[in-house]
């Protein structure tokens, strides 16, 4: 038994060189590692049913769904669902709302955590640093429902803090949540408030990996703090920054449904209706399964394409990519 274990380990170690032995050893290795498959089997079953299962259901996008016939039995109608979506009067506005909102979120939300991490990193081990960290992480744990509830409270025209301040300056109170022109700002800024601390963690982790010798050497050379940030810290976290940026671009179209839906009302609908909320309404509220599957598929295909393109560009420019 012990000898066999040794053998399989050496084969692993040398790999490539003992090709002939490896063929017969795959069966052996499978037998020897069967317990690992017990560990992973439930997870594999889960992924097949609940992740790949719905992908199988994506064929609905090309079908006229008939509840009696089921997914398989429904009639193929080619690209009719897509054509209907592209021709619908909402198409342009939905696409515009989704893209503007998520690009706005990306531009405003992406750099702030990086800056926060760099500033925090300058306060090594102080109590103040701990305090800022604990406080800025906290909103991340607040639910979207409570966050939107808080927005309702703070922005309320009767007694809300923001309108109190506006009234101090002698202005009329504003019904912020009922105005389409404010929707995007409120959405993005509240997102920054909620997530800047949490999103800074990953950069703090990267910064803690910067070799102290580099800073030491820079101090010896008389580099100021700002210079050390620009020439030591920033280059060190650049790979992390690029990866996060690529991932963010890859999810530009998959804006969260929940927050937009909760913030939505009949007065701000013209800027708050995004593809995700539209899919929900058309699909689950109006039971147009085929059509809204098509809209959802359109969304994910754009996402995937964007991710692949941005990843490629990033690899070309900085040699950093997700795969």
């Amino acid at each position: 038994m012990k000898g066999e274990v040794k053998e399989s380990l050496t084969i692993e170690g040398i790999n490539g060189e003992v090709v002939i032995h490896q063929k017969e050893s795959i069966v052996k290795r499978l037998l020897k590692t069967w317990q690992l498959y017990v560990f992973i089997l439930p997870a594999v079953i889960y992924f097949i049913i609940f992740c790949y299962g719905p992908m199988y259901g994506v064929q609905l996008a090309f079908k006229d769904y008939n509840p009696v016939a089921g997914i398989m039995g429904s009639e193929w109608i080619g690209f009719d669902n897509f054509v209907r979506f592209f021709k619908s009067y909402q198409f342009k506005q939905l696409l515009e709302n989704t893209l503007i909102l998520s690009l706005y979120q990306l531009i405003a939300g992406f750099p702030i955590p990086i800056i926060l991490a760099i500033l925090l990193n300058q306060l090594r081990g102080s109590k103040f640093k701990k305090l800022v960290q604990t406080v800025t992480y906290a909103p991340h744990f607040i639910s979207i429902v409570v966050l939107v509830g808080m927005l309702n409270i703070f922005l309320s025209p009767r007694g809300g803090v923001v309108n109190q301040i506006i009234q101090l300056f002698g202005q009329e109170p504003i019904l912020f949540l009922g105005k389409e022109e404010y929707f995007r700002h409120i959405y993005v800024l509240s997102g920054v408030w909620q997530n800047m601390g949490w999103n800074a963690i990953i950069y703090l982790a990267a910064l803690s990996g910067v070799s102290p010798e580099l800073h030491e050497a820079a101090i010896m050379d008389g580099a100021s703090k700002i210079k050390r940030i620009l020439h030591v810290d920033l280059p060190a976290i650049l790979p992390t920054v690029m990866i996060i940026l690529v991932m963010n671009f890859g999810s530009v179209m998959s804006l969260g449904f929940e927050k937009a839906y909760l913030m939505q009302n009949s007065q701000n609908i013209s800027s708050s209706e995004i593809i995700a909320t539209y899919v929900y309404k058309m699909g689950l509220l109006n039971a147009q399964y085929g059509f809204s599957t098509a809209v959802g598929l359109f969304n994910s295909v754009i996402n995937c394409t964007l991710l692949i393109i941005v990843n490629k560009v990033s690899k070309k420019i900085s040699d950093i990519g997700l795969w």
Partner: protein, 302 residues
């Protein structure tokens, strides 16, 4: 290094001192901006509701009043929702962890035949999925609709948590330990339970928190899958109280009773935010020290 930096602190250049001052100012502003809304909710929850509505409450409670909390206690919907949420969070998190940790460990072993294929298959689901409708039809087809399992099973594994757990095992379970175990004739099962799990406490802390917070805060699945009111989790009830309340308020009644309803609803809001959010805000600082560690592992090796 530390000595060097602190001695450097005393004989800093003017520019560096200015930088430090600016740094403290900026971070203090950020601190206040994040903290103030949280403090305001706490203060408003114990203040006189009329004073809050008139905008007289800024930083300190005006006229101590805990009627809001009394309203919360009286509201059976909230307690039903609370009990449901605890049930879903505990069951769900247990299932999440039981599926994620063993799978992550198996994926961390080099000798797992087909490891790359499995990883590829799993990672792919991060970037592409069937979407809302096919998932909904699947869950309905399995007759999970209107049961707690509809909230728990479809999201049983988060790929992100699986990947950071796997990376943790790759970098924190020394290969020598495994070889020694093999020498002693330790099976994978035994090795997992007696060596891996005790070493996995930090990553367990992080993923338990992330999963639990996810369950605690989720409302969308409940919105689409649950029909029976007595199954509603806290967040769905919160949505009614915090967001939809304005709409239902105008449903008739005399002006005076509408005013009174409004007053009660306002009191309820602050109390219910505190009662629903406090458990998490109290727990997370204890696990906070693991966040950076967990993220670091995830980002380096993920």
């Amino acid at each position: 290094m530390r000595a060097l930096i602190s001695s450097d602190f005393r004989r800093q250049s003017k520019g560096d001192k200015l930088f430090d001052i600016m740094n403290y100012i900026i971070l203090s502003v950020i601190l206040l901006v994040v903290l103030y809304p949280l403090i305001f909710i706490v203060v408003a929850s114990v203040s006189e509701p009329d004073a809050v509505a008139r905008g007289e409450v800024w930083l300190l409670p005006v006229g101590l009043n805990i009627d809001g909390y009394k309203e919360v206690l009286k509201n059976t919907d909230i307690w039903q929702g609370y009990a449901n949420t605890i049930k879903y969070t505990v069951t769900g998190t247990l299932l999440n962890v039981c599926l994620t940790i063993p799978a992550a460990y198996a994926l961390s072993r080099k000798e797992l035949v087909g490891r790359n294929l499995l990883m590829g298959m799993i990672t792919f689901t991060m970037f592409f999925g069937g979407g809302l409708i096919p998932t909904y039809l699947l869950v309905s087809g399995l007759h999970l609709n209107n049961t707690m399992w509809a909230l728990i099973i479809p999201g049983a594994i988060s790929v992100y948590n699986l990947i950071i757990s796997r990376s943790y095992f790759v970098s924190n379970i020394p290969e020598e330990l495994f070889e020694a175990g093999q020498m002693d004739g330790c099976s994978y099962f035994k090795f997992f339970f007696s060596v891996v799990l005790p070493l996995a406490k930090p990553i367990l802390g992080v993923i338990v928190l992330m999963y639990a917070v996810g369950h605690w805060n989720s409302y969308f699945n409940a919105l689409i899958y649950l029909r029976d009111r007595q199954l509603y989790p806290l967040q769905v009830i919160l949505r009614e109280i915090l967001i939809q309340q304005e709409a239902s308020m105008s449903m008739g009644g005399s002006a005076a009773s509408v005013m009174e309803q409004q007053r009660i609803a306002d009191m309820l809001k602050y109390g219910v935010i505190i009662v629903s959010t406090l458990p998490i805000l109290c727990v997370y600082p204890f696990i906070q020290k693991y966040f950076v560690k967990g993220m670091m592992i995830g980002s380096v090796k993920g």
